[in-house]
């Protein structure tokens, strides 16, 4: 059952005789319903890539129905840095007609359209792709025998893909066995039957769709540690554990919940406690109570829950109590678009509480960085006795990436609570030093026990109405954050050190940003890319860097606002008063496509040719040559 576009391959011919074509990377989009287990296929591919020292990145959509409904999983894998999940797909696997209808437009010219011919009737006239009709459903049922229905379709497709891209079958089989370890032996057998059937199918039906990833460039230094494959939310949860966090509290909300679920499950092993509270206010309150006992605790939520935490966060600044608050950003305002990505909570992170509340906001750039940013957030909270907000997003939360296993023996923090006796001159709020609370349980040599409070206070924590002390304490709280700013490393900066344009990104736009820079440079434009992880306070020294570019284009997933600037752009303009700072913003609930960034840059620097180039779709590397 081969489509008219692929040459007939007579059955029985030894396929191994065809030499695979070498490709650098490929974007495969699986489109079906969420019940079809397409996430599992993506998961296997991601973990395989991890074990093969390849790079991988995934992207998924969550259906708007409560359970079930159309869903996609997209995986990009290959050799070398994979920076984004890909604007368009090189291969589309369409399970249903609606999958085909909704996603065929995402396929690049020359790409492979593989569809379940039991369910899909593609537009016959459409000759842009290599169309492969495969009876996925019936072939699976046949392979597994009557009872299994079509439950193994995903494994059949995994087999297909493994054959087409010449993946390591031994490793994949191991992964399948590991995954179902402990489950009913039937399940493992069915999974492998499905896989094998899928793997065998091209052999007999489309011998020459056959690719292999380029060999890995051994010169590119790897850590030598194996790769691990996980999603952004898990990376944050384990980052906290590595940073010595043993206490936390939270309330469920998409897409934050999985962080709390992981911590609730994991912390007891480490002697810790995670409390599910009645709401987000109780959550941050409980977390602050934990911190008060001497160990930096964490809480988190998404937008609506963050709004509820603003009052207690203001207390944390006043009482100088360390805490880390995660915000897995989603589409706002209000309940908004709960399963879509957005970066519209930055200003709230910085300024959402009443009063002057200098605090710290960090944003990870990818899944690996989720781990390290979580660790850094805890370190800063502890060192500066301050609340720290960790702004990740819905895209990162569920995206799976493979990266070098962190060097745990070096990194792991053993955060012992210091309940040693404090000297007689102990003050919880010294004007000349950073606050170090004496957790309850610590004796104080003077016999005078400290008060921790949200009222303005003197050095001992006693409430004061003194104008002078209020001004001094405000300054103290501000200056410690400025002191932190002075220690921050210069942001990652690539490309030309001066030129026509500097693209500035934050959060998960890092990958598309880097790819966009490459494209801009390829068009002969002098440009650089800066990625800011420390979004507040900003690192020092940006003035000098920015001054070397004609235009600073800040790309972010939020609205351009009433003044025409995104949220980070607003802060950069406020700080630097540099009119060259402009914005590329969007709020369609989807991550930036590289082409959108390139187009935005082209428009801002008035580069017609570049703008035009964006319109022309580049052919897929899978295209028949």
């Amino acid at each position: 059952m081969v489509s008219p576009n692929t040459p007939e391959t007579p059955g029985g011919t030894e396929r191994s005789s065809v030499a695979p074509r070498s490709i650098k990377d490929v974007v495969i989009r699986l489109a079906g319903n969420s019940q079809d287990g397409i996430q599992a296929v993506g998961g296997f591919l991601a973990r395989l890539a991890g074990r093969s020292e390849q790079d991988v990145m995934t992207y998924m959509t969550i259906p708007s129905t409560i359970s079930g409904g159309p869903s996609i999983f997209q995986v990009r894998m290959g050799t070398g840095d994979i920076l984004s999940a890909g604007d368009r797909a090189d291969m589309l696997v369409a399970f249903y007609q609606h999958s085909y209808d909704a996603h065929v437009s995402s396929l690049r010219p020359g790409g492979v359209l593989l569809y379940d011919s039991d369910h899909v009737k593609p537009v016959e006239e459409d000759r842009r792709f290599t169309s492969v009709a495969c009876p996925i459903t019936s072939a699976t049922v046949e392979a597994l025998g009557g009872t299994a229905k079509d439950k193994g379709k995903n494994m059949f497709v995994l087999g297909l893909i493994a054959r087409i891209f010449d993946l390591d079958v031994a490793k994949l089989t191991t992964l399948i066995r590991e995954r179902f370890a402990g489950k009913n032996e039937d399940i493992v057998r069915n999974a492998l039957l499905g896989f094998d059937a899928g793997y065998a199918w091209p052999q007999n039906n489309l011998r020459d769709l056959f690719y292999r990833f380029e060999a890995i460039d051994q010169a590119v230094a790897r850590s030598g540690r194996p790769q691990i494959t996980l999603d952004g939310n898990s990376a944050i949860a384990y980052g906290f554990i590595a940073a010595g966090v043993r206490y936390g509290a939270g309330y469920p909300i998409t897409p934050w919940s999985s962080i709390m679920e992981t911590l609730r499950t994991e912390l007891p092993k480490y002697g810790g406690i995670f409390v599910q509270c009645e709401d987000e206010i109780a959550s941050i309150s409980t977390a602050l109570g934990f911190s008060y006992t001497g160990s930096v605790a964490i809480t988190g939520s998404a937008g609506p829950g963050l709004s509820l935490k603003m009052e207690a966060l203001s207390w944390a600044t006043m009482a100088e109590m360390p805490i880390v608050v995660v915000n897995v950003q989603r589409g706002g305002p209000s309940t908004g678009m709960p399963t879509n990505v957005e970066q519209s909570d930055l200003m709230q992170a910085i300024y959402g509480s009443h009063g002057d509340t200098p605090r710290v906001v960090l944003a990870p750039k990818n899944v690996e960085d989720c781990f390290y940013t979580a660790m850094e957030a805890v370190r800063i909270a502890r060192e500066y006795s301050t609340p720290v907000l960790l702004l990740t997003d819905q895209g990162l939360s569920s995206r799976i990436e493979a990266f070098d296993e962190p060097d745990l023996p070096k990194l792991m923090i053993d955060a012992k609570v210091d309940r040693s006796e404090r000297s007689a001159d102990f003050k919880p709020y010294p004007l000349d030093r950073v606050t170090r609370h004496a957790p309850a349980g610590s004796r104080i040599a003077s016999g005078k026990y400290p008060t921790v409070t949200g009222l303005e206070h003197d050095e001992l924590g006693h409430p004061t109405g003194s104008p002078k002390l209020h001004a001094q304490m405000n300054a103290k709280r501000r200056e410690k954050i400025k002191a932190l700013a002075a220690t921050l490393p210069a942001p990652e900066h690539s490309g030309e050190a001066e030129g026509d344009v500097l693209l500035v990104t934050w959060g998960s736009n890092w990958g598309p940003g880097r790819e966009a820079l490459a494209r801009v440079q390829a068009a002969g434009i002098k440009g650089g890319h800066m990625h800011i992880r420390h979004v507040h306070p900003l690192p020092n020294g940006l003035e000098a860097v920015f001054a070397r570019y004609r235009r600073i284009v800040v790309a972010e997933l939020n609205d351009e606002g009433v003044y025409g600037f995104g949220q980070l752009a607003l802060m950069l303009r406020a700080r630097l008063a540099n009119p060259a700072i402009v914005s590329v913003c969007k709020t369609d609930g989807l991550t930036f496509k590289v082409s959108e960034l390139v187009a935005g840059i082209a428009r801002h620097i008035g580069h017609a040719a570049l703008l035009e180039s964006v319109g022309t779709a580049r052919p897929s590397p899978l295209a028949a040559r």
Binding site: Y247, P268, V275, T286, S291, A440, R443, A445, Y449
Partner: protein, 313 residues
């Protein structure tokens, strides 16, 4: 930062006295009922003789919530209405501490009402003292959720019209495992109630009627004999199988406690309910930890995380 000192401090065994426990001079209005609560609390701590550094007093916001400033122990005050979840963090974060929370009727039953329910049902080990003056004191006389119908406040100049809550029923329904009621004019009784609450292994709560002389004078006179009121003590069951005992109140009987809470004003004082058998959240979480450690054979933190990562390869 303040460092551990070489010179020994006041010996750890020095008995806690009122003098040692007294911090700032209370800023309450002269005659405020809260003074007596404070005096009783000093007596409670004198009797308990916990290690000084292990006592924590925390509060929300309100006149009554200024309490921790006047007690020289670790402590402080949090935001309005949220002291209980904060205190739950303290109690669960360090099981060795003795955690006391103080607050008003507005703090506890209005803005903080839901936290009461959920902290109580989880039976987090701590003692909560509600100083009920049936008015918002600190903000100067607005109707509170315990203000009686007809009470003239700045928000009900013609007299309150909304049905108030029944504090005892609310506390009983919350799931608290020790619920008592007292009156700020009865220092011995208050002391006894707070003492029993402190000794209870679980979430214990004492509601104390404490008059706001500034904004609701005479609110609780109905229970003050020298002002013509009646002071009715709850006669607790002694389980001595005597015929009188059958008439006595069984604090383990929820329905009886509910009925008692429904008595006409000013009602009875004493222990309404006591449940000594429900496990505390502290114990339940410790149990989870124990089981998890058993499963992981007590592996060190580093080894644990390494093995988790190994599974993600």
């Amino acid at each position: 930062m303040s460092s551990a000192v070489a010179t020994p401090p006041a010996p750890a065994g020095t008995p806690l006295t009122k003098k040692i426990l007294t911090a700032d001079h209370p800023t309450w209005c002269p005659g405020c009922g809260d003074f007596a609560v404070l005096a009783s609390f000093y007596r409670v701590l004198e009797k308990l003789q916990y290690p000084h550094e292990k006592i924590v007093t925390f509060a929300g916001i309100g006149c009554s919530s200024r309490f921790p400033y006047f007690v020289n122990t670790h402590g402080g005050h949090f935001i309005h209405g949220r002291a209980l979840p904060f205190a739950a963090g303290i109690s669960l974060g360090n099981d060795e501490l003795h955690v006391f929370v103080f607050g008003g009727d507005g703090d506890g039953f209005s803005i903080g009402g839901n936290h009461l329910t959920h902290t109580a049902r989880k039976n987090v080990r701590l003692t909560y003292v509600i100083m009920d003056n049936s008015v918002y004191g600190l903000t100067k006389k607005q109707t509170s959720p315990t203000s009686p119908i007809g009470f003239k406040s700045k928000t009900d100049p013609w007299g309150a019209i909304d049905q108030p809550i029944n504090p005892m029923r609310t506390l009983l329904n919350s799931g608290a495992t020790f619920v008592a009621r007292s009156h700020a004019t009865q220092v011995n009784h208050m002391t006894e109630m707070m003492l029993r609450a402190a000794r209870h292994d679980g979430f214990s709560v004492v509601e104390i009627l404490s008059e706001c002389v500034e904004f609701f004078e005479g609110a609780f006179d109905a229970a003050v004999p020298r002002k013509g009121g009646t002071w009715t003590l709850i006669d607790e069951k002694k389980n001595d199988h005597s015929p009188e005992d059958a008439q006595r109140h069984d604090p383990t009987d929820e329905v009886a406690a509910f009925k008692l809470a429904g008595q006409a004003w000013p009602g009875a004082f004493g222990v309404f309910y006591e449940n000594k058998s429900r496990a505390t959240k502290n114990a339940l979480e410790a149990d989870l930890i124990r089981k998890a450690k058993e499963r992981t054979k007590g592996a060190a933190d580093l080894a644990l995380l390494q093995s988790t990562f190994a599974k993600m390869r």
